[in-house]
């Protein structure tokens, strides 16, 4: 990625183009309103920005809390090598989600209202608070990377001392938040297609986010290993691939059981557009990578592992888009398709995310040797200091 930014003018040109289109759309959005910039309507008030920028953005950031739990709570130190990129992704992901939210909110300048105007019966209220609190937690979890770079010893010690409580709070907030994005749709039983509407939506959102989060860690490690010409952490990532198999299996079993409980089989086998998308989501995004990753030689081969992880990520994105857009289309009869400006803003945000990740990876000890050395000191828990 260093190459992409530094030398290859092609990728620079792409970035500049995406920024240009995105900024033009930004201008239209904030000077002429949502109506001029989007294809949203009274019949279809939530579109691409909620479906992709928010629902997918948050879900793909789930690697942060998953790996933090694995390393700090379950004390599986092998994953330490990939925890920093995961936390960085999560932090950037949440910052970008808030950024995207400013586009989608009709009155973005009032985003702070949720702090002082409470409605605890609203899922959106819970989402707002989780985003605020968890972004703070992520900033703290990310801060050691910055402090190390700056050589600030004291703040570094303070943050390290509170690592475990911080991780516990982070895991709880993520659990609530990932699932509450699914809970948002519990209130529309008559609108959301029965292939996706289920009282278990919050649970599905949570489990699939863990899967997508793990897949994103694999995806990023692979991409950055190529960009920075560093060795890829194959043993850990292959292990993570195995974890992914188990998560996908749990998810599949739950989905099947849910279909049976709701007697919704008929929708799966009826040839409709929804059923096709459901099959694409479950078949290509869940079952195929599950089978692939269950095979040791696929799991241990960088390309095989990468492709399987990519399938999981794509399946996850398709699921969120199905819940938020295609699953709602039939009821709304609005024929929503995002405007080019909605797409431009989304692409710009994705491009900004990749650029920020690349910059951070280049200038901060995210993948660098310091991260490895630090690993040995941090495995010692604070309580053990006296025993040295």
């Amino acid at each position: 990625m260093k190459k992409l930014l530094g030398q290859l003018t092609f990728w620079r040109a792409v970035l500049v183009m995406l920024l240009g289109l995105g900024l033009y759309a930004t201008y239209v959005r904030f000077t002429q309103g949502l109506g001029a910039a989007t294809n949203l309507s009274d019949q279809f008030p939530w579109g691409l920005w909620i479906g992709f920028d928010i629902l997918c953005g948050v879900g793909l950031a789930a690697g942060g809390f998953t790996l933090c739990a694995i390393v700090y709570i379950f004390n599986i130190q092998a994953y330490k090598a990939v925890i920093r990129p995961a936390v960085l992704t999560a932090f950037l992901g949440y910052l970008l989600v808030i950024f995207a939210l400013l586009y989608d909110l009709g009155r973005p300048e009032r985003i702070w209202h949720a702090i002082v105007m409470w409605n605890p019966s609203s899922v959106m209220f819970e989402v707002a608070w989780c985003v605020m609190l968890y972004t703070t937690v992520l900033a703290l979890e990310f801060s050691p990377i910055l402090f190390e770079k700056l050589g600030w010893e004291r703040p570094l010690r303070i943050v390290r001392a509170i690592t475990v409580p911080l991780v516990i709070v982070g895991v709880l907030l993520s659990t609530l938040h990932q699932s509450s994005l699914g809970s948002l749709y519990l209130i529309v039983p008559e609108k959301l297609h029965p292939l996706w509407y289920s009282s278990l939506l919050p649970v599905f959102f949570f489990v699939s986010a863990i899967g997508a989060g793990c897949a994103m860690v694999i995806f990023e490690s692979f991409m950055s290993s190529r960009a920075f010409k560093r060795e890829i952490e194959m043993p850990q990532l292959a292990q993570l691939g195995r974890v992914l198999v188990v998560i996908l299996m749990i998810y599949t079993v739950m989905k099947l059981q849910d279909l049976a409980d709701r007697r919704a089989w008929v929708h799966v086998v009826t040839p409709t557009l929804e059923a096709m998308l459901y099959w694409a989501e479950m078949g290509l995004g869940v079952l195929l990578p599950m089978i692939l990753l269950a095979r040791p030689h696929v799991r241990r081969h960088p390309t095989g592992l990468f492709c399987s992880a990519l399938l999981v990520v794509l399946g996850f994105v398709l699921n969120r888009m199905n819940v938020s857009i295609t699953g709602m289309e039939a009821w709304a009869r609005a024929g929503y398709f995002p405007s080019w400006m909605e797409i431009a803003v989304t692409m710009m945000i994705v491009a900004l995310g990749i650029t920020a990740f690349a910059l951070a990876a280049r200038h901060l000890p995210v993948f660098s040797p310091t991260a490895r050395e630090e690993k040995t000191t941090m495995t010692e828990s604070p309580h053990l200091a006296w025993a040295e």
């Binding site: 008030p45 004390n75 985003i111």
Partner: protein
Amino acid sequence: MARKAMLIDITRCIGCGLCRDACKEQNGLPAGEETKLNANAYTVVQDYGHDVYVRRLCMHCEVPTCVSVCPVGAFTKTADGPVLYEESKCIGCRYCMQACPYQVPTYTWDQTEPRVRKCIFCHSRLAQGLPTACAEACPTGATIFGDREELIAEAQRRLREEPEKYVDHIYGLTEAGGSSVFFLSAIPFEQLGFPGNLPKHPLPLLTWNALSKIPDIVAVGGTALYGLWWIINRRDEVGRLHAKLKEMEDRKE
């Protein structure tokens, strides 16, 4: 104040549109003959052919979905029935629009400071003891205004006395926990664009089922995570101390 309601008898509506015009005048909305609810029309009359006309307006639910979903509490349900919207609180998330089972709230999409628009049950008129503007304007009595219980009794009376004229259903009595606007019709409601698959219970129950579990998740989850960390890391710590002790003993020998 007794709870107010409206009864709309579709068989009596002649589609004159006076309710729509009175509503526009009352709420200072630009004139127009919209057939779909939008930011300039809090109520419309839709023509279904064969002299069947159906009004659309906010149902003013008993347990309103919009009130429940709004993160900043911009919607309130008043004691006398109306569901009100406070523009100065709204952040424009449009969850109310996404969640309303009747697809009622609309938005001023073309404004840079947009707001949600919907029927407010002529709240200021009610405060003065007046009926809603639409009910007052209705020349045929298709829309009548009154105490909620009395209107339910009236609707039941009509169904009882002329069963051959109506489908045997008061729309709005049980849908999604009931509302403050009731409809009677000669034609099945599903054929007139009314949502036919609404549960009898209020929709906010569905999200509340999930939300009410949050304290449990936090308490049990937090304790479990801390306990796991404690057990797993203590085991690790002890293991390391043992290794160190053994090393020291080995050195002594």
